[in-house]
C-alpha cells in the first residue's frame, strides 16, 4: 500500500465491460481488475450495495478524456480547492484509509475516501431523506469542520502534505462512522438516529457556512471572480438550510414530518421577511463601501499626479522665473518640461521601447536639451533596432547637432521606415553651407555622417542652400532585395529632381 506512491488518477478506463468503472478503479488502486470486478459482483448481493457503488462511480468519475480536458483548463478557485485541485498522488495514510474503508464493509458511502475530489459534489443533492445521502452530506460537513479547525489541531499530523488530504481522509472517516452506525443498527444495537441525523445536519451546515467564510477571508474579499462568489452563495445557502432544518428537527423532537415541514416553511418565511427588511440596508452599506473604495483610489491617483507635478512642472516654473532674463534658457526649459510632461501623459506603458522611432526621439530630445533649439520629430512606420540602425541613429544625431548648432531655429526630423528601407531627413532653416568648402580636418559631416552611412551600406546626401540645409540618410534593409531596388529607383527619381 505505502509503496504505491505514484497512484494514477481515478478515471473511467476505456477498457470497459459496462462503463469502465472497475478497470479504472483497479488502475487507481493497483489491484488486478479481476478481483475488483469479482468484489463488485459480490457486493451487489450485499443489499445491492455494489450496484449503488457502481452507479455512483459511473456518474461521478470522469472518463479519461474528460479528465484530461478538465486538467487542461483548471480554474484556480479559492473557494472550492477540494474540487479544483489536481488529483495529487495519494500515498501512505490515504491509501491505508482506502483499503480499510473498502474492507470495512460494502456501505454505499465508502468510496468517498478514494474518490476525493468527487465527494463534495455529492453533498449537493443531499438532504433528501435517505439515510445514505444524509450520511454522505454529514460526512462531508464533518470533514470540512475538521479541516477548518484542523489547521491548528492537525497541523503537525498533516504538516508534511497538503491540507486537502486531511479533508478527504476525515471525510472518509466520517463516512466509515456512518457505515458503522448502519451496521450496528443491522445487528440490533439501538442507535438514537432521531438525534444523530439533525445533529449531523447542523454540524454539516455550520461547517459549510464557516468554511466558506474562512476561505473567503483567505482569498481576500477583493479579488474574487463572480463565479466564485456565486458558488460561495450557494454553499452559504446550503449550509444555512441544513442548519435550520437540523435545528427544527431537533427542537420538534421526534415530531411528525408534517409538523417539521410546517415549521420549516414558517422559518423560511421569517428568514425571507428579515432578509427583505435588511436588504436595502445591506445594499446601501455595500454601495457606501464601493464609493469609499473608489474615492480612495481617486485620492491615490491625485496624490501621485500632485507628486509628479511638484517634482517636474513646479520645479521648472521656479527655474524659469529665476532665469527669466535669458530667452534661450527659458525656451529650453519650457521645451524640456513640455516633452517630459507629454511623455508622462501620453506614453503607452504597454508599448515596448527598443524601436527605431523611440531611439530617434530620445536622441532628438538630447540635442534639444543641449542646444536649446526645438527638434520636431515626425515618424512614419517603425523598425527594430540593429547595429546598422544604431549607426543610422548616430549619423542622424550628428546631423541634428549640426543643424542645431549652425542652423538655428526649429530642426525638422522625419523618419520613414518601410519593409524595404529606412530613411531619415534632417532639415534646418539656417544660412546653409558649401559642402566642398568644409575643411578636410572637420570630421563632423564627412566622417560621422557620410562615411558612417557608407560603411553600413547606406547613403547620405546633403543639400544646402541659403534657405537651409537638409541631410537625407537612407539605409536599405539587409534582406529585402526587391525593396532595395524599388528604393534605389525612388532615390534616383528624387535625384533627378
Amino acid at each position: 500500500m505505502t509503496t504505491a506512491v505514484q497512484r494514477p488518477t481515478l478515471v473511467r478506463s476505456s477498457d470497459r465491460m459496462i462503463a469502465g468503472v472497475c478497470s479504472g478503479l483497479a488502475d487507481h488502486l493497483g489491484w488486478p481488475v479481476k478481483f475488483v470486478r469479482l468484489g463488485m459482483i459480490l457486493a451487489c448481493f450485499a443489499g445491492g450495495a455494489g450496484v449503488a457503488f457502481y452507479a455512483w462511480l459511473w456518474t461521478m468519475v470522469p472518463t479519461a478524456d474528460e479528465s484530461a480536458k478538465r486538467n487542461a483548463r483548471r480554474p484556480a478557485s479559492p473557494i472550492a480547492p477540494a474540487v479544483s485541485l489536481p488529483p495529487v498522488p495519494a500515498a501512505g495514510v490515504g491509501g491505508a484509509w482506502v483499503s480499510k474503508a473498502y474492507d470495512a464493509g460494502p456501505a454505499p458511502a465508502v468510496p468517498g475516501g478514494p474518490s476525493g475530489g468527487v465527494a463534495p459534489a455529492a453533498a449537493g443533492p443531499a438532504g433528501g431523506g435517505s439515510s445514505a445521502q444524509a450520511g454522505a452530506s454529514s460526512g462531508y460537513g464533518a470533514a470540512s469542520v475538521d479541516d477548518w479547525w484542523g489547521g491548528s489541531a492537525l497541523a503537525s499530523w498533516f504538516s508534511f502534505r497538503r491540507i486537502q488530504y486531511g479533508k478527504e481522509i476525515l471525510l472518509g472517516a466520517a463516512l466509515l462512522l456512518v457505515a458503522a452506525i448502519l451496521i450496528a443498527r443491522q445487528f440490533g444495537v439501538d442507535v438514537p438516529l432521531g438525534t444523530l441525523i439533525p445533529a449531523a445536519a447542523i454540524l454539516g451546515g455550520a461547517a459549510i457556512a464557516w468554511m466558506q467564510l474562512d476561505e473567503t477571508r483567505r482569498a481576500g474579499l477583493l479579488d474574487k471572480t463572480k463565479a466564485d462568489q456565486a458558488g460561495g452563495w450557494v454553499r452559504l445557502a446550503a449550509g444555512l438550510a441544513l442548519v435550520v432544518a437540523g435545528v427544527l428537527v431537533m427542537v420538534s423532537g421526534s415530531g411528525s414530518w408534517e409538523q417539521t415541514w410546517l415549521a420549516l416553511l414558517a422559518s423560511v418565511a421569517v428568514l425571507g421577511g428579515v432578509a427583505l427588511v435588511l436588504l436595502p440596508w445591506g445594499l446601501k452599506f455595500w454601495k457606501d463601501l464601493e464609493t469609499e473604495r473608489a474615492g480612495r483610489v481617486r485620492e491615490t491617483e491625485r496624490a501621485e499626479i500632485a507628486a509628479h507635478l511638484h517634482d517636474s512642472v513646479l520645479q521648472t516654473l521656479a527655474l524659469i522665473q529665476r532665469r527669466a532674463g535669458s530667452e534661450q534658457d527659458v525656451i529650453r526649459l519650457a521645451r524640456a518640461q513640455e516633452r517630459e510632461l507629454r511623455a508622462w501623459l501620453f506614453s503607452d506603458a504597454a508599448k515596448e521601447s527598443g524601436l527605431l522611432a523611440d531611439r530617434i526621439k530620445s536622441v532628438a530630445a538630447e540635442v534639444e536639451d543641449s542646444h536649446g533649439h526645438a527638434v520636431e520629430v515626425v515618424t512614419v512606420g517603425d523598425t527594430d533596432m540593429t547595429d546598422r540602425h544604431e549607426a543610422l541613429v548616430q549619423a542622424a544625431r550628428e546631423a541634428m547637432l549640426n543643424a542645431a548648432r549652425h542652423g538655428g531655429g526649429t530642426v525638422s526630423v522625419y523618419l520613414e521606415s518601410t519593409a524595404g528601407s529606412t530613411e531619415i531627413f534632417i532639415k534646418d532653416r539656417g544660412p546653409g553651407f558649401d559642402l566642398d568648402a568644409v575643411p578636410e580636418d572637420r570630421l563632423g559631416v564627412k566622417e560621422s555622417i557620410i562615411g558612417r552611412m557608407k560603411r553600413h551600406g547606406g547613403t547620405a546626401t546633403i543639400t544646402s542652400s541659403s534657405d537651409g540645409t537638409e541631410v537625407r540618410l537612407g539605409l536599405p534593409s539587409v534582406n529585402a532585395d526587391a525593396g532595395e531596388q524599388r528604393n534605389n529607383e525612388a532615390r534616383n527619381g528624387e535625384a533627378k529632381q
Binding site: F346, E376, V378, T379, V380, G381, T410, S412, E416, Q497
Partner: protein, 224 residues
C-alpha cells in the same frame, strides 16, 4: 470651399477664437496680425456654437480640448455648426500631438491643424490660407496621413478615396520633412496653387475615406 480672391487686398478676415484658457486667447489675439479681426471668443462648447452662429466668422480657431457639451470638445463644436461649414472654416489648435485628437477633429470637418507653439506669423498665414479655402497641414499631420494611408502610391484600380496618388505622397512627404508650401512647390517644380490643390485633395480623402486600413488604423488609436 469658398475662395476669396480679395483676401489680403485690404480686406480683413473675421475670426472667432475658441479656447478655454483666457490667457491663451488674449495671447493669440495679440499674435494675429492686421489682416484679421477677432469678432468673438468662446470658452466652452455651448458658447462656441452660439458665438459662431451669431457672428458667422470666416475662420474659427478651435481648441481640440474644450469643456462643456457632451465632452466631444472641438469635434462637437464643428458638428454643432455643421450648417455653416460652407462659409465658415475651422482651423484646429492643440497642445496635444496625439493622433486621436488631431485626426478626429479633421475628420469632423476642420480644414487644418496647427500646434499651439506655432509663431504669430505662422498662425496668421495659416488663418489666411484657411480663409482662402485651402488646407493647413503641419508636419505631424502629414506624418499621421502617411501612417494612415501607407507610403505606397495608389494603383489605377484602387478607389481614388482609399489611397494617395504618387504626387500627393510626394507633397505629404515633403511637408512631413518640414517643407513649407513654397518650398514644396520649388522642390517639385509646380506652382503653390497646385500644392494647395494636392493638399486639399488629401484633406478630402482623410475626411471622407472609409478605407479599410484607415478604419483599422483609427480603431487602433481609438478614433472611432
Amino acid at each position: 470651399m469658398t475662395i476669396n480672391p480679395d483676401t489680403g487686398a485690404g480686406r480683413t478676415v473675421r475670426v472667432v477664437i475658441v479656447d478655454d484658457h483666457t490667457i491663451f486667447r488674449s495671447g493669440l489675439k495679440a499674435d494675429l496680425d492686421a489682416r484679421m479681426h477677432v469678432v468673438g471668443e468662446a470658452g466652452t462648447v455651448e458658447e462656441a456654437i452660439a458665438v459662431i452662429a451669431g457672428t458667422r466668422p470666416e475662420v474659427v480657431l478651435l481648441d481640440v480640448h474644450l469643456p462643456g457639451g457632451l465632452g466631444g470638445g472641438g469635434r462637437e463644436v464643428i458638428a454643432g455648426s455643421a450648417a455653416l461649414l460652407g462659409t465658415t472654416s475651422f482651423l484646429a489648435l492643440s497642445v496635444s500631438d496625439a493622433a486621436e485628437d488631431v485626426v478626429s477633429v479633421i475628420r469632423a470637418g476642420a480644414r487644418g491643424y496647427v500646434t499651439k507653439t506655432i509663431s504669430g506669423k505662422e498662425i496668421s498665414d495659416a488663418v489666411i490660407r484657411v480663409a482662402d479655402g485651402d488646407a493647413v497641414f503641419s508636419p505631424r499631420l502629414a506624418g499621421f496621413v502617411l501612417d494612415a494611408f501607407g507610403t505606397a502610391p495608389a494603383d489605377i484600380a484602387d478607389d481614388e478615396l482609399d489611397r494617395l496618388s504618387a504626387r500627393e505622397l510626394e507633397v505629404m512627404r515633403l511637408i512631413a520633412r518640414g517643407y513649407s508650401y513654397k518650398e514644396v512647390a520649388k522642390e517639385l517644380f509646380i506652382s503653390i496653387k497646385t500644392v494647395e490643390t494636392h493638399v486639399s485633395a488629401v484633406l478630402r480623402k482623410l475626411q471622407l475615406s472609409s478605407r479599410h486600413e484607415l478604419t483599422k488604423w483609427a480603431a487602433e488609436r481609438r478614433l472611432l
